[in-house]
Symmetry: C2
Subunit: 196 residues, 2 copies
DNA sequence: TAAAAAAGTTGAACCAGTTTAACTTTTTTG
DNA sequence: CAAAAAAGTTAAACTGGTTCAACTTTTTTA
């Protein structure tokens, strides 16, 4: 009945918290399956991000556009990852990020209201979101360290090693801005590598 | 009875979650007051960070030392802030950061075991830690965006505006590495500003 | 409180990464 | 599937920020 989309999400949840069947099913029932076309936006500046999005299939990119028109990738998400503008989602304020589909995708969306309801309904649901936030916090913390301490070339090597699946799937300009360098420079780094 | 240290922490907690008197007191009773001398470490690489630390007074600096001996500030904490190596604390693995007192300080320490116990004991405690993690997540996310999108000079101006209390209280070399630049360059930026 | 250590300053030489621009390859779309 | 648009490549000129080195000021400690 639930379909493979909900099975992936179930696994994801049960890896983090133990739930009885009914508890799990109730939680799942709060998610809405949505199909997103390539290039479609699920978050846009000026509008409040109403959902937390679990990627079942496809890929997304979160980015900021600054005054001069440059865009900077802040996050990627592929299968089994979450994505949204968390500042907007948590604080119910207008987003500053774009979140765009890089491929045709299928996501499971949880609204802020449903999330709040779940958190209040059952201690275990709250635990799940607490663990998610802690992991995200630790993730961003490590990312900050890498950005601050490592030169461009190492950041690229490091990304290749940690996320080979993402590295070869997203457009190069998007990856370059994620790593804090220009497309041209990343192009050179890639060439240098394959030349070796 | 509790003293001003615990009053600051009480306010901090009650701002995030509603607790009855006994609930609050039980939570507070899990914290241990510790006095830390300037230059003393509360977290060191190789040792697991056993506590989450709430700063009542004083100031701390978290930093990484990389191969060539350079150090990079990752976080500051003054009154009413938390500090630890979260990767180490959450995952019970050896720390990679140093956390050092920049001044004689007073902190309230909560151990991982006591935190886990609190989270299990009462839904509201869990809510408190969930909110803390969400806020920290959003904070690091914004920081990542600033680092990625703004040039050195703006990052300094921005920091001055947002954290004037910290900017003039921590050593310049520590601030420079936090902002991702050398001491020498920050010195020049500061001079340029006062010259205006 | 003197002397040693740590922090901050200044300027010149340098370089990792950017910019600009012209070109090639890949992807999208009518 | 042809033409247009988007993405990626290459090379030369350039620059924001670093490095190095010598010096001054502030802080620490015996």
């Amino acid at each position: 009945m639930p379909g493979p989309e909900f099975e992936l999400l179930s696994k994801h949840i049960l890896k983090r918290v133990q739930l009885a069947d009914e508890e799990l099913n109730f939680m799942l029932s709060q998610f809405k399956l949505t199909r997103i076309k390539k290039r479609q936006f699920i978050v846009q500046p000026g509008f409040t991000a109403k959902h937390r999005n679990f990627v079942y299939s496809g890929a997304f990119r979160a980015y900021v556009v600054i005054d001069n028109g440059e865009d900077h990738t802040i996050q990627f998400a592929i299968e089994d990852w979450w994505i949204t503008d968390y500042n907007s989602y948590y604080n119910s304020e207008p987003a500053t990020l774009f979140v765009m589909a890089l491929e045709d995708s299928v996501i499971l969306q949880l609204s802020r209201e449903n999330e709040d309801m779940l958190k209040q309904a059952n201690h275990k649901y709250e635990t799940f979101f607490r663990i998610s936030a802690e992991r995200a916090q630790a993730f961003h913390f490590r990312q900050l360290i890498t950005n601050l301490t490592q030169p461009a070339e190492y950041r690229y090597e490091n990304f290749l090693e940690k996320y080979p699946l993402i590295a070869n799937r997203v457009p190069q300009y998007a990856l370059a801005s994620y790593l804090g360098m220009t497309t041209e420079y990343l192009s050179k780094l890639r060439n240098k590598r394959t030349a070796k």
